[in-house]
Symmetry: C2
Subunit: 81 residues, 2 copies
Amino acid sequence: ADAKAGAEKITVCAACHGMDGQSSAPIYPNLAGQSATYLELALKAYRAGERSGGMSAVMTPQATNLTDEDIADMAAYYSQQ
Amino acid sequence: ADAKAGAEKITVCAACHGMDGQSSAPIYPNLAGQSATYLELALKAYRAGERSGGMSAVMTPQATNLTDEDIADMAAYYSQQ
């Protein structure tokens, strides 16, 4: 996983979750300080269609386009914020 | 929402998420510092059966037994950690 590469991949994420992992509104989770392991699991759950309701209408389509490497890089980035 | 009441209700949660909202293993999300709004949404999504995969086999049965007041109290507690 490459956090620097992740920083280049989180432009869309940052609209809600912030560049620094502090979300822009209370309905969105902060990602700063989460483990990369958990962040990967959550993104992969969205990608697999395992989360419905909530913000899944936004998250599932976003996650669908991500490779495992993308997810690892983005998780590395946010876990280090 | 009553964070002090929440503190009495999170005994089971704390096994994985910690009394202080710092999880006991990287597969579990930290809850400290999340907004109460997000924590309520996540618990209600589990309660509604909207999350599968991941740790939902644990979370869904736990959430099923919670009232809206329980969820509000527990979310208040963890959001203040």
